[in-house]
């Protein structure tokens, strides 16, 4: 278990989760708005949107600990033309900035919904560029065979969307549960007068069904990538095969078990309960637990990724 690179483990996982959650929320908004209306969707999804900011800021703060001389921090954007690390930092700042502007626009209802969607699309694209540049930092190191493989970008994007999907699921159920228990008199009056409770329940169930399916599919992708990448490393021999030995032992088994339990079993239950519209409390517990298990699994997985850094040469 690698702890030396803890700042980078936390940063990469949280930043990828933030990008994934933003993109998944965008998909939820676009798809669900057609059926339930933009206002109803905004009401359920906005708190999840506002939760992305603190997660990203926590990741960026952790990344600062990776630098051993923070007085020179501003220099890290100087080599944008060549260094993927510079590109990652520029994309990270741009994603955080655009995301903040979009969240403010949603909160204060600035501009028209169309313009806000354009801003969200641009933010999502910058987020994708952030994950891409993050993966290129490692992929382009030809001296580290365990990183210089197709598996690096594929795994980074799988983590992005798997964690993003489950984070959004947990945030949506959390929001609905919170509102159910802390509904103000005005909200209750509005809901009763507009009959909004039923659409909200339908909306949540519909979203969770989609998120459950996405999580199970992404788990399948992850369970395909992991053995394939290990086999590739082992077959390459030399330093690559040496790196592959990291992916054995108790931590690797724990990583697989947690992601299977979270994204597989629990997401399947979320899908089932969302379809049968059982007790929302059960759904909330399931989605939150699935998210926590997969987050733990991805943190362990990223730690193993850094452990696999065995370099060609001396």
């Amino acid at each position: 278990m690698n702890t030396e690179e803890l700042p980078m483990i936390i940063f990469t996982v949280l930043a990828q989760m933030s990008v994934g959650a933003f993109v998944v929320l965008g998909v939820v908004q676009v798809v669900a708005a057609r059926r339930f209306g933009a206002a109803a969707v905004d009401k359920v999804t906005d708190p999840a949107l506002y939760a992305i900011g603190p997660a990203l800021v926590a990741g960026l703060a952790a990344s600062m600990l990776h630098m051993n001389d923070v007085t020179n921090t501003l220099n890290v954007v100087r080599h944008l033309g060549t260094s993927w690390l510079s590109a990652e930092i520029v994309c990270g700042i741009a994603f955080a900035g655009l995301g903040f502007v979009f969240a403010a626009a949603q909160w204060f209802k600035w501009a028209t919904p169309t313009w806000r969607r354009v801003l969200a699309a641009v933010t999502a694209l910058v987020g994708i560029a952030l994950v891409a540049s993050m993966s290129m930092i490692y992929y382009t190191l030809v001296t580290v065979p365990a990183w210089h493989t197709w598996a690096t970008p594929v795994q980074f994007f799988t983590t992005t969307f798997l964690l993003g999907t489950l984070a959004v699921g947990a945030a949506l159920t959390g929001t609905v549960m919170w509102r159910t228990h802390h509904r103000t008199t005005a909200d209750a009056h509005d809901a009763a007068s507009a009959g909004a409770t039923v659409p909200t329940t339908d909306l949540l169930a519909s979203c969770l069904r989609g998120l459950g399916i996405a999580a199970v599919v992404l788990l399948g992708v992850e369970f395909l990538i992991i053995p394939l990448s290990i086999t590739t490393l082992t077959a390459t021999g030399g330093v690559a095969a040496e790196s592959a030995t990291v992916f054995t032992g108790a931590w690797f088994i724990a990583r697989l078990t947690l992601v299977f339990a979270g994204a597989g079993l629990l997401a399947a239950f979320v899908l089932r309960y969302a379809t049968t519209r059982t007790n929302p409390r059960t759904l909330a517990i399931l989605t939150a637990t699935a998210f926590v298990l997969v987050l733990a699994s991805e943190l362990i997985g990223r730690s193993l990724f850094y452990d696999s850094m065995t370099r060609i040469g001396m």
Partner: protein, 203 residues
């Protein structure tokens, strides 16, 4: 005119005077060695009838920054602290370095080394101050067997050839080091080695 090193494995006795001279001249702390001497050894014995003949071998390679033609450390550095001068010498500017250690991940020769005390990367600059005074780099001057040399890489290659891919060094195609090696009689080409580094603790 780009500068580089030459190294004759057949002359090196593994005394590490070059490594010590470098540490002394640059006042390097424990844990940082810009020039290191790697011992590569292997072999066992061969049987011919009832006769067993040993075929063990061992040879040394003195290695520092090779001021590469395609320096991966310069390419990946986000701060532009790692730069290559007109003479091909790669150096690090502590006033720009953020200590992210990305160059350390990248370099296959372990040339950029991290100094925890300053929070910056450090590396060989081919004794820029000595060269400015008309002197040889400290490692070259200290070598008792004259195995180490330095100078314009074109001249070194014209005189000594262009071999730089000897075990346990990496494939020279990765960074194209400005290094010319005169091989030991038992030297094995990069990627085909049957031996192992015998002194990993010293590197």
């Amino acid at each position: 005119m780009k500068l580089g090193f030459s190294f004759d494995q057949s002359l090196c006795t593994g005394c590490k005077a070059c490594s010590v001279a470098c540490k002394d001249k640059n006042d390097l702390p424990v844990g940082i060695s810009w020039r290191r001497v790697v011992e590569y050894s292997g072999g066992s014995w061969q049987q011919a009838g009832d006769t067993f003949t040993p075929n063990v071998f061992s040879y040394y390679t003195s290695i520092s920054c090779n001021h590469c033609e395609d320096p991966i450390c310069v390419r990946v550095c986000p701060t532009t602290a790692m730069t290559q001068g007109p003479d091909g010498v790669v150096s690090v500017d502590a006033d720009k370095c953020v200590g992210c250690r990305y160059c350390e991940w990248a370099c296959p020769y372990s040339a950029p080394q991290f100094d925890p005390a300053s929070g910056h990367m450090t590396k060989c600059d081919l004794c820029a101050d000595y060269r400015a005074d008309g002197q040889d780099p400290a490692c070259v001057a200290a070598c008792p067997s004259r195995a180490l040399g330095w100078g314009p890489i074109d001249e070194l290659r014209a005189d000594l050839g262009d071999l730089a891919g000897v075990e346990p060094l990496p494939d020279p195609a990765i960074t194209r080091p400005r290094l010319v090696i005169t091989p030991h009689r038992d030297a094995q080409p990069t990627g085909t080695g049957t031996g192992a580094i015998a002194n990993p603790e010293e590197l």
